[in-house]
């Protein structure tokens, strides 16, 4: 009886898995500037997530190596692709190491946050 129940559960699950939309936590997949990368002074920060995000509850902050906040614009999702969060950088960044702190709420309300660094070359 247990084996049959397990089989029924497995079959039901297989049908259900093939039929429903897939939602997940918004975890960073790729960023520009690249995570840990070295670039010329960027004009914006773009983060591609594994899941669509809610721009009202998601954001990007930028600090210098000394911890000073750098001016950035309001974060917004890219038109037609809510997996990409974009923030304009308000000034040309002098050479140095910068830290990006991001937080995101996915469209299914899961909260995530993280940080990474990149280097601006002379």
């Amino acid at each position: 009886m247990h084996s049959r129940s397990l089989l029924r559960l497995g079959v039901s699950l297989a049908f259900a898995l093939s039929a429903d939309a897939v939602l997940a936590h918004a975890l960073l997949q790729k960023a520009v500037p690249a995570v840990g990368g070295t670039v010329s002074s960027p004009s914006e920060i773009r983060i591609e997530f594994s899941e669509g995000v809610e721009p009202r509850f998601s954001g990007i902050a930028l600090t210098s190596a000394g911890g000073a906040a750098q001016p950035v614009g309001k974060s917004a999702v890219e038109t037609g692709d809510n997996k990409v969060l974009v923030t304009k950088i308000g000034k040309k960044l002098p050479p140095g190491v910068y830290t990006v702190n991001w937080h995101a709420v996915s469209v299914d309300t899961h909260h995530t946050q993280g940080s990474f660094s990149f280097t601006v070359q002379p």
């Binding site: 247990h2 259900a16 897939v22 939602l23 997940a24 690249a34 840990g36 190491v97 940080s115 660094s117």
Partner: protein, 302 residues
């Protein structure tokens, strides 16, 4: 029960919850930027909606080899309260077939301090008498209060970037038999503890440096350690610590994971030879967010 549950342990659970300035997290063991994968020897520190079939092979020990086919279904009742139902079949050679006792664990947790990737969950597990068959008959219940804690090292300074993908998880539990003795044999109370060491390449890709390879950026090398020791009502000469060391690897995708580990006994009392365990874990909260994957009662949640 052969003894009253130790109030000190219950008090310790409460103290942990009160002492840490936790905020609710969400399934499945995600805290800040850290994903704690489902582990095979001990539990992860989250309350989840998951379904995980597991296969285990144990080489001959005292002439008996064993193959297990088990499943574990984790279901949230409220966003941070859930129940885990586990069961499965065991084949022993020589010995034969048996259906294992039904195991249920009520969990409360997902306590998360995201800045420090610190996560905890407490639970109370019951292995039910009379639900096993064949070689797995169990004439009394087993009661196990348990605490699981996870800590990621993402809060280290960027000068220690290479360490930030690392994480540890811990589990502490004590198993109390519902009967002091059976057929003249003492049923011991056991203290169980274990931990895992993990190095997350998904975390490395998202927080340290981009990984171009689409396979490696899903890999988490892991080693688990589990130990158990009779601490009360044990027969003379049997209070030996047993345990396993389980090196392995996890492939972590967005909605599922696959994990495989070797099972290496720490001493002769723990077994002989190297076994293997493998499991697929389906994240139902991500796969079926509007049906099986959501809490039965979502108070103010999504």
């Amino acid at each position: 029960m052969s003894r009253v549950y130790p109030r000190a342990l219950v008090g310790a659970f409460a103290a942990v919850g009160a002492a840490l300035w936790f905020t609710p997290a969400y399934p499945h063991a995600v805290c800040g930027s850290r994903v704690f994968p489902a582990t095979l020897a001990i539990d992860d520190p989250g309350v989840n909606d998951e379904f995980a079939p597991t296969l285990t092979y144990q080489p001959p020990n005292s002439g008996v080899q064993e193959f297990d086919a088990e499943f574990s279904w984790s279901k949230t009742i409220f966003p941070n309260v859930g129940i885990v139902i586990s069961d499965g079949a065991t084949w022993q050679h020589p010995g034969g077939y048996g259906w294992e006792p039904l195991d249920t664990e009520l969990q409360w947790g997902n306590f998360c301090w995201p800045e420090h990737e610190l996560m905890a969950t407490v639970g109370f597990d019951v292995s039910w008498a009379g639900t096993g068959t064949g070689t797995q008959v169990q004439p009394f219940n087993l009661y196990t209060p348990v605490i699981d804690v996870g800590k990621g090292f993402g809060d280290l300074p960027t000068s220690l970037n290479w360490l930030r993908p690392a994480a540890v998880t811990f589990e502490l539990s004590e198993t109390f038999p519902g009967q002091a003795s059976t057929d003249g044999n003492q049923n011991a109370t056991n203290l169980n503890w274990g931990f895992s060491l993990q190095y997350s390449l998904p975390y490395y890709n998202a927080n340290v440096a981009e990984i171009d390879n689409p396979f490696w950026k899903h890999i988490i090398p892991i080693t688990e350690f589990t130990f158990s020791k009779p601490v009360y009502n044990f027969a003379p000469g049997t209070n030996v610590t047993t345990g396993t060391i389980q090196p392995g690897v996890v492939y972590l995708a967005d909605t599922w994971q696959f994990a495989v580990e070797a099972i290496i006994p720490i001493n002769g009392a723990s077994g002989h030879g190297v076994g293997v365990v493998a499991s697929v874990d389906l994240f139902l909260d991500d796969l079926l967010p509007d049906s099986l994957g959501k809490p039965l009662f979502n108070l103010g949640g999504k």
